[in-house]
């Protein structure tokens, strides 16, 4: 079957003229003089014109425009007759839906050369492509790029702050490198978990398990957690992970994780929006209050809404932490 008969078979008694007329995509054809020889209904509706008024008319007579805008368009149309496909700038277009609502779509007019059997471009066919989806995608992409840049800068600021904080309290370069890298590793765990949670916030229990397992190995028996779970805000998740990390690091240096028989029990209750956490280290007889004030100790002073008390017992140490648990991030220090 040759091309022509195939076409005829598909169209049946439907004429191509009718298909073009009723096509929802605006379509028009200009001759070499840039005069209208065809426009479908969608084009007439989109441009608010009637065929009788534009028929055989020079396009810039119908759509007179200031020279600065008209010249580049005309230059593009001339290019089409050299055999090049061209595109005009994206235009918003309000499209009336069958149900009466109006939808704004982004159109881009695309001009194609139409060649006769001798290969000469005799006409220009313009169709309007609906590129709403691409425009929206590009917009989202730009927003994301900006947001990503913002986050990376913030991240660097946090890393630099962490390095200075670690440098101030470390006793040697080796100790600095260890403290600093462990803090970064803790942050990276929080960030990847937050990303996985779509930045909705993490569970308190999961934060504790992550931080303690990172230090003690997965499924470690050296700690016990008791308390019903709560989902923290994004900020609350970051702050809680930091506090748990610092407490655990202190426990390894001086507390229950510094001896084989030590054990940690963390219990928490939630009354209204008040979170009470009891961090109890046992199996470390003779533990002494630290002689110097480290980052882990100063940390609690920085959260104005958080109350922490530390009591040294015969067998270890107990830290009681009370903090308001916020449902939404309002930029408040919260755990």
């Amino acid at each position: 079957m040759d091309q022509v008969s195939q076409t005829q078979e598909i169209t049946g008694d439907l004429s191509f003229r009718e298909v073009a007329d009723r096509w929802t995509v605006p379509l028009m054809v200009l001759d070499r003089e840039l005069c209208f020889v065809y426009a479908n209904r969608a084009y007439l509706t989109a441009t608010n014109t009637e065929w009788a008024n534009i028929r055989q008319k020079y396009i810039f007579e119908i759509f007179p425009d200031v020279e600065e805008r008209r010249d580049p368009v005309e230059a593009k149309f001339r290019q089409v007759f050299q055999g090049v496909q061209t595109r005009l700038e994206v235009q918003p277009y309000e499209l009336k839906q069958p149900d009466g609502t109006v939808q704004t779509r982004m159109w881009q007019a695309v001009q194609d050369p139409y060649r006769n059997d001798d290969g000469v471009v005799t006409h220009m066919i313009q169709r309007a492509e609906d590129i709403t989806a691409q425009v929206e995608l590009k917009r989202q992409n730009d927003v994301m790029q900006n947001e990503l840049d913002h986050r990376i800068r913030n991240m660097f600021a946090v890393i630099m702050a962490t390095s200075r904080i670690s440098g101030e309290s470390a006793e040697s370069v080796d100790a600095f490198v260890d403290d600093f890298n462990e803090r970064l590793a803790s942050m990276s765990r929080v960030y990847s978990n937050l990303t996985r949670s779509d930045w909705t916030g993490l569970s308190l229990r999961k934060i504790m398990i992550e931080e303690l397992d990172a230090m003690l190995g997965r499924g470690s028996q050296r700690y016990t957690l008791r308390g019903s779970d709560a989902i923290l805000t994004v900020k609350g998740s970051k702050d809680a992970a930091l506090i748990v990390h610092e407490l655990a690091a202190n426990a390894r240096k001086f507390g229950c994780f510094s001896t084989p028989d030590g054990h940690l029990t963390v219990e928490w209750t939630l009354k209204g929006d008040l979170l009470r956490v009891t961090w109890t280290e046992t199996g470390v007889p003779g533990i002494q209050p630290p002689t110097r004030v480290g980052f882990g100790t100063r940390l609690f002073d920085m959260f104005p809404k958080l109350v922490a008390t530390r009591t040294f017992t015969e067998d270890g140490v107990q830290i009681l932490v009370e903090a308001p648990l916020l449902k939404e991030d309002v930029g408040a220090f919260s755990v």
Binding site: N146, D149, H150, R151, I152, R153, N154, F156, A157, V158, M160, A161, T162, R164, I165, E168, V234, K235, K238, D239, L242, R298, L299, M302, F303, P304, D329, V330, G331, A332, F333
Partner: protein, 116 residues
């Protein structure tokens, strides 16, 4: 001693900035992490300048900035956003991008105290 209000919601950055400003001989009021807490600390004579993180977990610190303006207290914005847009009335405010270059920030804060 120069008293500086610090509004910054990231704990580690706030902790570090407080230490840096204190090392430079300033007294830090705060840090606080939201506009309400910040505004509660602004009274005539309570502070000489302020450092405001522009983005507090999705909330802008502009209300605090406007309050400072009312009291004629100078301030600087700190932001990770390179193309931050400043609202009307705040367009001339100094901006330091994160990570902050501390010597420049400290120099500017000291300049607020001795404007000559």
């Amino acid at each position: 001693m120069l008293k500086i209000l610090l509004l910054e919601d990231d704990f580690l950055i706030a902790f570090d900035m407080k230490a840096q400003l204190e090392d430079a001989g300033m007294e830090v009021v705060g840090p606080v992490a939201n506009n309400e807490d910040a505004k509660a600390l602004i009274e005539p004579g309570s502070i000489q300048a302020a450092v405001l993180d522009m983005d507090l977990g999705g909330v802008a610190s502009f209300p605090t900035a406007h309050r400072l303006k009312e009291f004629g207290i100078p301030f600087v914005f700190v932001t990770g956003n390179n193309e931050a847009d400043l609202q009307d009335g705040l367009a001339d405010s100094p901006i330091h991008t994160k990570p902050v270059h501390f010597p420049r920030l400290i120099e500017q804060l000291k300049g607020f105290a001795n404007p000559d």
